[in-house]
Symmetry: D3
Subunit: 303 residues, 6 copies
């Protein structure tokens, strides 16, 4: 090895060693990754997300992927000669649409299993129907019937824990049962949040298409690194938060208030954003934290 080679190798070793405290901190902890948006469309980003999750698994974390499939569902609905319809941003899901949604979500699901398998990770792709995991109530949108769209009312974690115990990585698509035993479509953010709560995840990370939460959406310098739930509620009350961020932030608060220590809104367009968030002190995106988590975070990692 030349001296320059050696210097680079030593630098690499140094970086691995710097990962020590982060690996230690989340060892055997469950991390739920809500996977969606651009990171799911761009093949290169996709591969990097899967590499990140694979690494988390190998160094001792217990990751769970919950994914959506929004755009691809619409494209297949059109292929079948129908027109996608939305009310208040919610897909109107009649019988044939639900059938297509289930097909597409399962296809996406198994493609993620494939990518993990390629990296040597044993994964198992399931939906909320398997093991009777997700039970839903029919969701109404402003009083209107929007078809087979559901609100989660209970999560049976038996199958998830069974898979984790035997070292499989669960990849979950957000479909559940109604009391009529019919399949219902579920918002993927809601599913990720409900699952993170039910399994007592240490961390829940949303891969999104935005940089994080802005105090003032028009001021790119106002990105918020960390928010306590109190601050997050104040922000919501101030009325400056809108669009898709509103339900997402509500989900974050809900998760933190129900036992998930840290919820992250990450910019899925940044390659390896998951690793960057977990293995560096330079936070990216916005973290919503419980008071305990904040304290723990500061005390624990001293490089």
């Amino acid at each position: 090895m030349t001296t320059i080679d050696m210097k680079e190798e030593l630098y690499k070793a140094q970086i691995l060693v710097e990962a020590l405290p982060y690996i230690q901190k989340f060892n055997r902890k469950i991390i739920v990754v809500k996977y969606g948006g651009s990171a799911m469309v761009d093949e290169d980003l996709k591969r990097k997300v899967i590499q990140d999750v694979a690494l988390l698994k190998l160094v001792g974390f217990k990751p769970i992927i919950v994914h959506g499939g929004g755009k691809e569902i619409s494209s297949w609905v059109k292929k079948s000669g129908m027109e996608p319809k939305f009310i208040n941003g919610l897909r109107v899901t009649d019988e044939p649409t639900m059938e297509i949604a289930e097909m597409v979500l399962n296809k996406v699901n198994k493609s993620l299993v494939s990518l993990l398998e390629e990296l040597g990770i044993k994964a198992c792709g399931i939906s909320g129907k398997d093991g009777g995991m997700l039970r839903v109530d029919k969701k109404l949108s402003g009083g209107e019937d929007i078809g087979f769209v559901g609100d989660i009312k209970s999560v049976d974690t038996t199958l998830i824990h069974s898979l984790l115990k035997d070292d499989f990585l669960p990849v979950i698509c957000p479909i559940g049962f109604g009391d009529d035993h019919h399949a219902y479509n579920i918002n993927a953010d809601d599913a990720a949040c409900a699952i993170a709560r039910a399994v007592g995840a240490e961390k829940l990370a949303f891969l999104t298409d935005i940089e994080g939460v802005y105090r003032d959406f028009n001021d790119k310098d106002s990105l918020i690194s960390e928010l306590s739930t109190t601050e997050a509620k104040d922000l919501l009350a101030s009325g400056t938060i809108g669009g898709g961020m509103l339900p997402k932030l509500n989900n974050c608060i809900d998760a933190v208030e129900n036992g998930v220590s840290r919820v992250h809104i990450l910019d899925g367009r940044i390659p390896h954003c998951l690793l960057l968030e977990i293995f560096t002190n330079k936070g990216i995106g916005t973290a919503i934290l419980s008071e305990e988590a904040e304290k723990f975070y500061n005390a624990d990692i001293v490089c």
Copy 2:
């Protein structure tokens, strides 16, 4: 209760008691059910098959369902504006066809999970990609490339055993990985046979659209109840067996020669054909047996 009521109730109790030796015989044994054909199209038959499997599970057996989805794949291929193509009876499976096949098979898969769930059975629908279960080689058909069609080269049973151990009923659709990490379509009969061998199933039952194996296909009285593998091979050598029965019979022989004690070709058009086969001495369909199984069968059940 009236006397007539009581008489009927006693008759029912008697029937339950008569099931005793059969329940005992297969207690904690694995039974692989290849589910396909009419029994998958007719809604009433479908429900009865699922009831049978549910009962087998509840009385202590360990059933595994392996299913196909042939007709529905073709119908969705057409819906997408393509024309299904076959060479030597094998579906030519190009990229878009494979995509549709995977979507349809997963849809069918989850619908079976739903039906079991309705009966209170915890099921988990997986494909051969999950847990890296089915690895395949590319199949050629008379030297011609027919696309993503695979021959199973190895079965990793870890996930299946993990699910069985934790009391989930595995429902499996026949898709596997190639060495190129691509998804490949697998003949469902082949998959059922390979899985039955790999898990050391006690029994493998094919639900088909025929009454069984005929010594002379034109003579409806020549239905064969039991065949040893030697007899089955003689029959194949005689050249009287043809059509879809030929590969099926080869599969049966292969399974029996690799440790599955009993393989059954059942008429899936008869309601509750699974229960009839297992809980009565009046065999239906054709059984291919190892010599040991024959002896065991006769010795064990004395009503």
Copy 3:
């Protein structure tokens, strides 16, 4: 198979399928069967009771048999040249009588083990002395010393749970230890009730020689199907209940108030009465229920 044969077979299959919800409901639940009376004398009834218990075991229940041996004890006491003596319906049990009682009860015990063994069920016959299971206080009858007759003061369930865990069916005869380490005879109803409470049985069934509880013993149409504990207490307070039913009903109330969901007084003279009670909605005999059990019963089984 002829068409008529087939029709009958299908009817049988249907009956098995109808058992599904009942099997499911009691899966892995403990059922204590107090076995006595005519069902123990008549060889045909005896065989049917044992068949019922064997079936319950095979379909996943955990039955425990507690039996008496009253008439046979008296007959052996006479054989030995003594005269059976009773005070207030309780056998005066001097040393030689106790010796004979223990011998006879153990003989009956092992004969039940034999019958189960014949049906392929692994049973283990024990008395309350084994594993130090039953500890008693000396019972007085109206102030009179009636010898080695005991009231249970504690139940050590270690041995029972050990046998159940390793899949043995416990057959128990009601003999216990006094503080003087002497063997004491225990009323079999009391023993069944105490054991059912101690192991947290789901169900306790008394096989008796009566049809059940009558509101008016002289009116055969007044048989009561279900009683809550409150109603049972009212009935006792009304003074219409007498004879052997009085302590039995007290036992039932005691069991239900201590965690056993359902206690049944069955007519052991009806063949397969256990199966009839468990696998049909047409109740036979009288059930004493907790309020929760009643609700559960109605909600759960919808055919």
Copy 4:
């Protein structure tokens, strides 16, 4: 404490310490004790045998008691107005005799359980019928039918191992099943030997009414301390051994040749003969040893 008291206490402590290597040697080893003869009739000897077995259990051995009940069976047969009958030293066991034999053996069985219980030892009294443990063939005596007398053809050790695992001391009476599912009487020496072989006991000890094996029965100084199986066979061939010792010695050889390291013929009339044999170097009675055991014995214990 006075000086004299203290001196005695120190002597006691010394004795306990001297037991160290013996306790260590048999730690967690199975010891089968065939209990019979005078040690079963004399109440004081009985109590001392049970104390010995209790101590063995408490210091970490796994004792199993196999007992007979010969004299008491005859006495109860007479009580019932029948006359005991023997052919070639074997009891002619017709149906009523078998019934009494089973009753008496179970009575003896539970009385040993009682004595152990009194010393705080959790015991479980079973017969060879429980758990389907002992299966027999009908034994003929010189071609004559002697009724329900059996030769053991197989031992199912599941129940024994289950009890040992959960820390119960098995007390076993020698009754087994024939292929006709009837109970058969078994010679207790044979049963002890078969069980010791089947469970892989380290040691098998026969409590007898003789001092051991004599080279010349008329010369009291010719008592043999140790015999290899070869020597034992030579002795048998020499024709000097007769009476009840002949089958017993054959049993010993059989046990040693099938994996039991040491078989002892002890004089049950000596109080604490079991402890004396195990905890001292001064052997009492006669030991039949495998070559390995002899070597091991000499090498291991150096006080």
Copy 5:
């Protein structure tokens, strides 16, 4: 064997049998032995203490040894050319002293492991640093800095339980970690007490160089056999207790009030004092008991 030999052997057997109730009483209970003083200097006494502990282990107790090394540390400090220094009876422990203390304590530790090994006992010698067991705060002595001397603030029992579960006997030397990750010396009495509390020991025995606690130190007849914690506190309040006994008695009270049933101050100069205390009713030394322990003690052992 001669008659005289036999008589002595029987006496020995009798002594072993008399140990039965004591063995039973502490079966699988944890006993912490604080080993120090003369019993650690005299080679013969040392061997006897180790024999006692070995016997306790073999008969089913779970002993843990916690030892000091006081005199030997001073001697090695001097050997290294330094002068041992004490303030208020506490060793001033600068860096080089701590280094020597750790070396000497580990040497003593491994020599005890050797002695146990010689008796066939699998031991594992650890310090409070292993498995992060003992965490300390720096101790001040009347405001003065006395170096690396620590007060235990937490005990992590994972390693101890891990060793006990796998049947190793833990031998522990009293060194712990400070928050500065430096090694700190801990008083062995304090360590034994803290460990006994943390593992929920049944008994804690201090081997000392005194006969026990005297009501009046100058009156040798005033040795106290048993003290309740209330009595012990009164004694302390009376001001008659002084010297090294003061902190020891405080430790005893602390242990009893935190779940250790019985704490013993034994005279380590009496050979086999541990066995004498445990296996005889003639108490030696002084026992500090909880009220429950007193009651239990009297009720349980009736010879």
Copy 6:
């Protein structure tokens, strides 16, 4: 984050991802690290070795440290006023020298435990005496008595496996028992090799003070990267290998021929040499491999 920061962070993430296949390859495999030489003297190198081992543990490997203490033993021998003596390179180890050796080795042992503890790793420092792990024969050096120096004759791995199972990192110093129960000093290379063989390690790494094995020691360009055992033997036969490398290379061959797949001679003077060897394809030092390992190595890691 600035763009430059981000670029560096991404580079770091990339390096972590590149570690994926290496982490995967040794997941749950045992790696024995012989720790000695400069890497043990230089405080900075020491810390880096411990960081490396900690990282290996955290990412799922099972490292075991075996260490020496050569130089420090001599320094303490001198401190005690004695003169270190060597014959043929082996320390003459009389009683007082052995005492010091044991003290020093245990001190070093616990200091490594401390460093690991500081990084949050649960370690347990043991010697070959603990759990009776290392048994030795007295070693002679050319016929001369060199005192308490031992050759390992057996390794009892119970304690090591017990610690690994419960997630402790074993740190082992090379002292064992002789048949005289005395402590014997063992060459640390020999101990590491014997332990690696006994536990079936995947890898054994020697941290040394040389760069590796040279084909020609005077030609710095002749460093050998990989050697099969055949090549290593040829090299030894050629006579070009001398000094301390000779026994080390023999150890390497011995280990590989007894089941350790890969043995590495690393330059402990290079910081993070362990990580560099394991996480990069650019080998450092010399690897001695089995034929299978070579093949496996090339096939498996394709970056």
